[in-house]
Structure formats: structure tokens, C-alpha cells
Point group: C2
Chain length 201, copies 2
DNA sequence: CTTATTTGGGAACGATCGCTCCCGTATGTC
DNA sequence: GACATACGGGAGCGATCGTTCCCAAATAAG
């Protein structure tokens, strides 16, 4: 029963996510966002309360799209576990280069920029980390169950190593390291899942 | 032949490093730095030209102290290679908690906050990465030479994996993960250096 | 003691920050 | 058509940003 909105709220969140992702929280101003959307600060504030709330929306949107896509790619669906893992990691370090490179992972960028100071943000980054960890865990369990991975594989340890390696890969992609350079790391991480020696020295 | 400076330039750099490290570049204002040092912006500017230059000084100081200390701890000096590696990584994820936790690595924080946009900064973060990579490489070569590590160890691949894992560990420490939680990752990373199976499935 | 020179710091520059007010405009309800 | 309601946007809020200017204080050189 009033004048309808002339811009799509979801579009605004998408644009905000893109901008926050590339520049970070502090380096992105409300007017930057408005310029990208042809919106004035007042319209943005009426819809999203304030910058911090809009940032949370952006984080949630990222998790619902990009993070969800990553989780989807971690779903084995009958394919070889190692291949799924490798394709997933290669995609992680090359996916943002649809446009320009060096965007890294929005969650990782946020976690390092804002640390543990903001509780609401920390909650979301931690949840995103946990989802990834569990997805990797499921994949490894499936691989061990199907016999593709060693029966005595220490899944917990492997999950931690793979998850941490992925964070490092995201940092390196943000730092400008090309996917081809990172492929060595990815292959080494996957080789980790091979059976260990029977008689360790 | 004029009035001498009343503050120690090096002290200022140390304080600036601490502040930039904890808050990042964009969230640290020149007045924040001045307040910590009981200095006015004008004095800071006369000495350090501008904020960006001071930040470069802070990065250089970090590399000359904290990074150098890390490199020192990576020097085997006759100790078992695996032990050196493990102690080094454990120190990496717990060293900044002299005061409060969650500072992570200044270089990693900088690389993710500013990405590849700034050439002078990128140059420094990349150099810091390379020094670490080479130190790990030397250690692995020494271990392989002494027989502590498998003769057929793929040093290049292991260096990439360990280096990337360390970046991930730094992110996780910044995100508030306790050293005890990260120890699993560290042990898994080191186990990577054990001999592989003779007949891989 | 002068003089040249550099310091420290208070004040202020224009620009931008996050955010709010207000008013003309457009739309659903009656 | 009249009215209530939410919109878009321009203007502006006080605060802070990075940076500069200027002047009194301090000191080395003469």
C-alpha cells in the first residue's frame, strides 16, 4: 500500500557481496556501494539498516551461493574421491577469475581482516569453516568406506590437513599466485591420502 | 645542527607494526598511531612521509624481527628435522599470544587485506613468502641428505604443501583457533614426510 | 649570544566517512 | 479522486580521515 521499490533487494546484496569481497569491509564505503547500484545512501539505509547489517547479508549470500557451490562440488556422487577432491581444490583457486583474479575467499578475507573482534561476523565465518570441514570429512569417510582410501586412514587428521591447506590456497590465490602454481600443492595434498608405509622408519 | 628528535624512530616503527598488525591497514588511522606514541600527526609525517610509507616500514620491521625469528627457528643445527619443523609450526600458531591472541601473521593479514593492488606491498609480502619457502626447502633437503627423510621424498611438492599449510594455520590462528586445535593439523602435515608405500594401490 | 635549523604540536585544510532528515514522487486502498 | 504509505534522492549532520601549515621551543654551529 505504498510506493514499490525500484531496485531489486537481492541484486543489491549481490553487488554488495562483490564489492566487500574485492575490497574488504573497511575499504568499502556506503557511497561506493550506492554508486555501483545507482542508489543513494538513504535508500540503502532504509533497506539494510546500516553498513554492518548489509555486510552480514553479504556474508550470508556468499555462503548461500559460492560456499554452497563448493559444497556441491564436494559431493562425490559416485565419482572417484581423489578426483572430486582435486577438481574441487582446483576450482577453489581459479573460480573467482571469471572476472579479475585475486579475490580469494570472502570468508577467509573477512576472517583475517576483522579477526575475532566482531561476534556476529566471527559466528558466520566459523560456521562456514565448519561446513567445509564436515563436507571434506564426509567425502573422506565415503572414500574409506568404498576402499578407495586406505582402511587405516586417520580421517580426522586428514580433514584438518586438507582444510588448513585449502585456507592456505585461498590466501595464495588472493596474493596473486596462479592456479598452475598452486596445482603442485593440490597434488601433494591429495597424495597425502595414499597408503602409508607398512614399516615406518 | 638543530633540535634533536624527542622520540625514538625505531620505537615508533615497533608501535606502528603492532597496531597495523592487529587492526590492518585501513582500520588504523594516523591519529591512532599518534595516540599510542604520544605524537601528533605532524611529527609522524615529518619522519615517515605518509601513512603508506610508514606501513612499508612496519612491514620491513616485521620481516626483520618476527619473520627472521621464524627463519632462525627453522635452522636445524643438528636437531631432528621433524622436531624442528614441529616446534616451528607450533610456535607460529602460538607466538603472538604473548599479549592477546588472534593476531595471525602480519604478512598474511596484509596480503589478504590488500591483495595484489599495491605493488610495493605485494613485492614485500611475496618476498617474505619466498624466504619462508626457501627455509623450509633447505630444511627438507638437509633432512633428506641426512637420511632422516625418505631418499625419494619429492622436496618441491613437500615444500609447497608445508608452506601452504602454514598459511592456513596462520589464518586459523587469526580466526581464533587455539594452538591445541591446530596441533592435529601440524602433526598430520609432518606425517606427510614419512616414507610412502612401495606398492601404491 | 646569536643564528640557522629542525623539532613538537595545535589548528586547520578539504575530503570522505557512516548516517539522518526532509521533501517531492509514486503507488495500493478506499 | 483522496488519502495513507513507502519510496528515491539531495542535502546535510557531526565525526574522522590523511595531510599540511605555522609557530614556539630547543639545540648545534658560528
Amino acid at each position: 500500500m505504498a510506493r514499490p521499490r525500484q531496485f531489486d533487494e537481492q541484486d543489491a546484496v549481490v553487488t554488495a557481496t562483490d564489492l566487500f569481497w574485492r575490497r574488504g569491509y573497511n575499504a568499502t564505503s556506503v557511497r561506493d556501494l550506492g554508486a555501483e547500484l545507482k542508489l543513494t545512501p538513504s535508500s540503502l539505509y532504509r533497506t539494510f539498516t546500516d553498513k554492518h547489517t548489509l555486510f552480514l547479508r553479504a556474508l550470508d549470500h556468499y555462503r548461500a551461493t559460492d560456499s554452497a557451490e563448493a559444497e556441491r562440488r564436494l559431493d562425490a556422487a559416485g565419482r572417484p574421491v581423489r578426483e572430486v577432491l582435486r577438481d574441487w581444490m582446483l576450482w577453489l583457486v581459479s573460480c573467482p577469475s571469471d572476472g579479475e583474479p585475486g579475490r580469494g575467499c570472502f570468508v577467509v578475507n573477512t576472517a583475517t581482516e576483522l579477526g575475532t573482534a566482531d561476534a556476529e561476523i566471527r559466528e558466520r565465518t566459523e560456521a562456514a569453516f565448519e561446513v567445509t570441514r564436515q563436507a571434506v570429512r564426509s567425502l573422506l569417510l565415503e572414500g574409506r568406506g568404498s576402499g578407495e582410501l586406505p582402511a587405516d586412514l586417520d580421517v580426522d587428521a586428514s580433514v584438518e590437513l586438507l582444510f588448513t591447506t585449502v585456507l592456505g590456497l585461498r590466501v595464495r590465490e588472493r596474493a596473486g599466485h596462479a592456479p598452475e602454481r598452486l596445482a603442485t600443492t593440490i597434488d601433494a595434498a591429495i597424495k597425502t591420502l595414499d597408503p602409508a608405509s607398512v614399516q615406518p622408519s
